[in-house]
């Protein structure tokens, strides 16, 4: 594998109907050269359909898909500069690992010697040279997954597509393989689109994440921005945990419907109408004494290196992540260190860092 020339990908106002239902709806997304973008969303949000349109297995009903500036919207999969890693790996069971990886190169009529070199090189990259003559059924799921990755990478595609590649692995292996994938992706600098419904996966390997819902991109941002400043209610609830309250805003405090006031930094009064306030559990500060709204402990859930407290404050539930050293008497006092205010489902407060859109 020589040097890859990274290319950008542009999904330009693409729509797709399947079975009479709009699956992808006027979607706009740009992936920079060499970037790893995750399409994150619940099942049925259109992420896999989008990926299959990029790969050429589906054709958009409207809009264009550009790779490196060239329109590929209606090219057959075999004519696109994309390579896909399938959810079930889709290794050919009647071919050895070598033949699986070499198949695409053979179709390109490369000399035998070069094929062998390139296959060996890419198998070295994924750490599978010892299984070169094994059949897929003889190797483990994690190894099959890496063969599938090698098979995609050996063709030096402009864009690498991964369709929930880790969903068939057990939890421990999933974490290791995703780090491997990220490491390899960064080393060769290949533009990558990674589909997943696992927010943890998306947050830990992406340059940028596009959270999708109902065939649209809800927010497209780097993992930190996405987590700290979820642009919509949907993103806030899908990525990480979030407490939501209907509350009226005061300066540095919010007021729950029953009149309880909870101190909250960074909010300011903006009229009497109640709005939706989102607070991350780690932004809930819990004290045993001093000021703050009174809270009652309902439940304590050990989470390993931290614990989750379920509290009630003024008739509303507050979930807080606290250190394991915090002992919880029945009564506590809480305040919020940070909050995001939503109106009509979209964030209105919180000084946002410029969200990269293009």
């Amino acid at each position: 594998m020589t040097e890859l020339r990274p290319a950008g990908l542009l999904i330009d106002r693409v729509s797709k109907d399947l079975g009479g239902r709009r699956i992808v709806d006027d979607m706009q997304l740009e992936v920079h050269a060499g970037e790893l973008t995750c399409l994150l969303g619940p099942s049925g949000c259109g992420k896999t359909t989008t990926l299959r349109m990029i790969g050429g297995f589906l054709q958009p009903d409207a809009g264009r898909i550009l790779i490196d500036g060239a329109d590929v919207s209606f090219l057959a999969p075999e004519r696109r500069p994309t390579s896909m890693v399938f959810q079930n790996y889709a290794l050919w069971p009647h071919m050895t690992v070598f033949k699986n990886v070499a198949f695409g190169l053979k179709l390109r009529k490369l000399p035998k010697k070069e094929i062998r070199e390139r296959v060996e090189h890419v198998l070295e990259l994924v750490g599978l040279t010892h299984h070169i003559q094994s059949y897929p059924a003889r190797i483990s799921g994690g190894e099959q997954q890496r063969v599938a990755l090698a098979r995609a990478l050996v063709l030096e595609p402009k864009v690498l597509l991964l369709d929930e590649p880790l969903s068939n692995l057990d939890a421990k292996l999933r974490v290791r393989v995703r780090e491997d994938i990220r490491e390899i992706q960064q080393r060769i600098g290949i533009t990558t689109v990674f589909v997943t419904h696992d927010q943890d996966e998306a947050l830990s390997i992406s340059d940028r994440i596009a959270v999708m819902s109902g065939g649209k991109v809800e927010q497209y941002a780097d993992p930190r921005t996405l987590y700290r400043e979820p642009a919509t209610h949907f993103v806030a609830s899908f990525v990480g945990a979030m407490n939501f309250y209907r509350a009226t805003l005061h300066d540095n405090a919010i007021e729950l419907p029953d009149g309880t006031r909870i101190a909250c930094d960074g909010v300011s009064q903006n009229g009497a109408a109640p709005v939706e306030v989102g607070v991350r559990p780690e932004d809930v500060e819990v004290r045993t004494d001093g000021d703050g709204a009174e809270a009652t402990v309902v439940r304590e859930i050990p989470r390993g290196h931290y614990k989750e407290l379920v509290l009630t404050v003024g008739g509303d539930e507050v979930r807080a992540f606290v250190g394991t050293e915090v002992t919880s008497p029945e009564r506590l006092r809480v305040r919020f260190n940070r909050a995001v205010v939503y109106e009509g489902g979209s964030a209105v407060s919180e000084a946002k860092e410029p969200v990269a859109t293009a």
Binding site: A90, F103, R108
Partner: protein, 301 residues
């Protein structure tokens, strides 16, 4: 107070003493009896099956080598190979064997050429009428064939197909279609589409995908279909008789003549000869192909 306590203890002791015995009975007794009766029933069923399946074959073998065999005797009183000799010496019979081995491969290959693309379409595309067509393929097997053949004969006369090689091929083809469509359809359906998509993805066109990925993976199912089609063509008698005589007389049609013209020992010899390809091909199929393929073939949705 103390009386009540006392009574309680006595009852408790009683219960404790009785319990293990009852429990043991419940555990061992009925279960063991049930087990034994299931085994016995199994043995009876297997024996009956053996008698019905192996019995006729044994009788056939005895008959083929028997000289004099009169009614009350359990075994033939004299043994001979003369029936084998007379079958092999008869020019007509030898010719019919040769003919049978010409028709069956031709029919099988033609059937594959016609039915495999259909099977692929049934498996991969959802077109209107798919289910109706798939099920209607059974129709040819659902009615007495002779009725079908008689009406076919009418058509064949006008097309000048009666007594021709092609006519016999077509009539034998009818019986193979169900195998050649249903089993490969299941075989194709069992291949995940993503395997084909992955091949497209690395640069193979649709035809190459079929020959390099789909076909090799469906091959065991296709092989089973071909074996069953071969046997169906090889054993087909009624239609071949109706269309083929007097020019083309295959082994099964020759049976009719044999039964009429020779003693029944010759017919026994001939049926053993007729069974040989079936036995060989079936055992081959069993050894080289996963058992589930055949069953899978009739479970398409």
């Amino acid at each position: 107070m103390s009386a009540v306590e006392h009574q309680g203890t006595v009852l408790g002791e009683l219960r404790q003493a009785e319990l293990p015995v009852v429990a043991a009975n419940r555990r061992r007794g009925p279960a063991a009896v049930k087990n034994a009766s299931v085994k016995l029933l199994g043995a009876v069923v297997v024996t009956i099956l053996l008698v019905f399946m192996v019995g006729p074959l044994v009788w056939l073998m005895l008959r083929a080598f028997s000289g004099l065999w009169q009614f009350p005797q359990f075994l033939p009183s004299t043994w001979t190979v003369q029936w084998w000799r007379s079958v092999f010496d008869d020019k007509n019979l030898a010719h019919s064997i040769k003919l049978s081995f010409e028709f069956a491969p031709v029919v099988t290959i033609l059937s594959a050429v016609i039915c495999l693309p259909a099977a692929y379409a049934f498996s991969r595309f959802n077109f209107p009428g798919r289910r109706v067509l798939l099920i209607s393929l059974f129709a040819t097997n659902a009615f007495p064939k002779i009725g079908l053949y008689v009406s076919m004969a009418g058509v064949f006369y006008t097309l000048n197909l009666m007594g021709t090689f092609m006519g016999v091929v077509i009539v034998q083809l009818i019986g193979t279609i169900v195998f050649m469509t249903w089993i490969p359809t299941a075989a194709f359906s069992a291949i995940p589409r993503s395997l084909e998509e992955a091949a497209r993805d690395v640069g193979a066109g649709p035809l190459r995908v079929f020959f390099r990925v789909t076909f090799p993976l469906a091959a065991p199912g296709i092989l089973v279909a071909m074996i069953l089609s071969f046997l169906a063509a090889f054993d087909e008698a009624q239609g071949t008789f109706l269309v083929g005589i007097p020019n083309y007389i295959t082994m099964p049609t020759e049976m009719y003549t044999l039964v009429l013209n020779y003693p029944e020992q010759a017919a026994a010899v001939f049926s053993i000869l007729l069974a040989i390809p079936s036995v060989i091909l079936m055992s081959f199929a069993r050894r080289h192909v996963m058992g589930g393929r055949l069953a899978e073939g009739f479970q398409i949705r």
